[in-house]
Amino acid sequence: MNTIAYDAYTIFWRELKRYKKSRSGVLIRLIQPAIWIIVVGNIFSETQPLIQSVGFEGEYIEFMAPGVIILTAIFTSIFGGVNTLWDRRYGFMNKALTSPISRSAIAIGKMSAISLIAALQASLIIGIALAIGVTFPNPLMIIPIMGIVILFSLGFSGISVTLAATAKSQETFWGMINLLGMPLFMLSPALFPLELLPDWLAVVAKLNPVTYTILLVRELMTGVSEGGVPILISVGVIFAFVVAMVGIASYVFTREVNKPF
């Protein structure tokens, strides 16, 4: 167990080093969520009566800010696994596979690095949100929010690593990511309250772990409980999602990298 932790940390360290050296990547990842919060947040500002109908008193932009924080986490982490494909193409993977470290440690190291990077990106978006006037009733809540973002991103990085290990080409990987990312974001209360969704969509949204994460972050951030889901249920769903995804990703990764690329 000790060596798995050490080995996972080795991979984690390498991934973070690479992240640190690519400053342009940090900014590029911010553009999309920044557009969401600045542009969409203002376009929909007239929809305030809609969100007020479910008991939310603030501006629309404050309602959707948690959604955009999670959007950042979703996309940063679901794209994060792509370097698995590069590693296999350019030999780093073989280098790691012929060293004594365990296969699952490689997967776990990658996932932890991706989730931390996603959380860093999300914290930059929180900064942008604060700058354009979103307020936190209780600033200390940022600590549990970051914890949730890290945990949630760990689950999504599991999806990413699983897909990257299975995909044999960049095209397949990006195709799958696009197929998954946007619908998971849209089928959640990120932009509009759960109560306003048609029944059948609400059912689908309730099967989506993104929903519970957004509800939880929104409650911590604005103090308004929405959707009638207790905090403990949300926390439970997120934990179950993360455990399942990390397990699946480690298993699939170990199985796939043992096959020739």
């Binding site: 080795t10 690479r18 280098k95 012929t98 004594p100």
Partner: protein
Amino acid sequence: MYSIETKSLTKSFGDLVAVNDISFSVEKGEIFGFLGPNGAGKSTTMMIFTTLLKPTNGNAFVGGFDVIKNSKQVRENIGFVQQETTVDEYLSGRENLLLQAKLNHIPKNEINQRIDEVLDLIELSDKQDESVVTYSGGMRKRLDIAGGLLHHPRVLFLDEPTVGLDIQTRRKIWQYIKKIHTQFDMTIFLTTHYMEEADSLCDRIGIIDHGKIQVIDTPKNMKNDLGNEIISLVIESNSNYDSFLQELKKIEFIKKINEAGSKLTLFTSNGTEVIPKIFQISSELGIKIKSISLTQPTLDDVFISYTGHEIRDDDSKYNRRREHAKMKRLRQ
């Protein structure tokens, strides 16, 4: 105990046999080279030794451990430098080595000293803190090789160590490999399709073609086996061609004759005595000799004599569908 030992090792991808029933062993401390054209089965064999592929049949032992049953112990005892340079461009030279050291579980208190040692050996100490992006191809390769040495493996695998490098850089890499070999007393197993490389580095060479080992010997013996001289002649053929060949074969010094149309290659000793005899036979049979030359054999000639073709990819033998099917299976 041998450093590497295989018994009837076979690897097939579907009905394509990439490595066909090979058995051989490499002594401790030896530099052993696999020489063969692209697609001969060299890399597949190396991937089996480094636990990246499982053999279809037969056994392979590296450092005394079974590559299938004890793959973890094998990994602890090998260094593997791949054909492509695999250093991380975003990291500095030293960070790359640090990563390699951690991957190979070098104890924390030894890491820095080990890195200094290999940096000194490959003469990159002054560039160690610069990003690898700024390194030349040769420097990257040296760094890659250094990474394979850090944990002092018992067996170092080098897959085509100088492919794609210019000739000066190639020579420089050879010097480093020799230096590594003397300094660490490692067994080195390398693959190459450069004759010169096999000749200058290897204690013994295995010539591999179409998944089979054609011969294993020292470069020197291989050349001597062919006789120490080669006579090449171009003739104008006539109906007496077959009897001309018969008569040539009767000359006692000639060990082997390769025919390629009007061009004959005779592997022989005492070449200077053989040439007058050739002229005598040809004039008796009315065969006109257009040119004749006497040379010392190179490893190129050895390769031709064992495989019947030159090491360069032979287009007529290259079967596009077969290669395509192979690549497809490898990617599955």
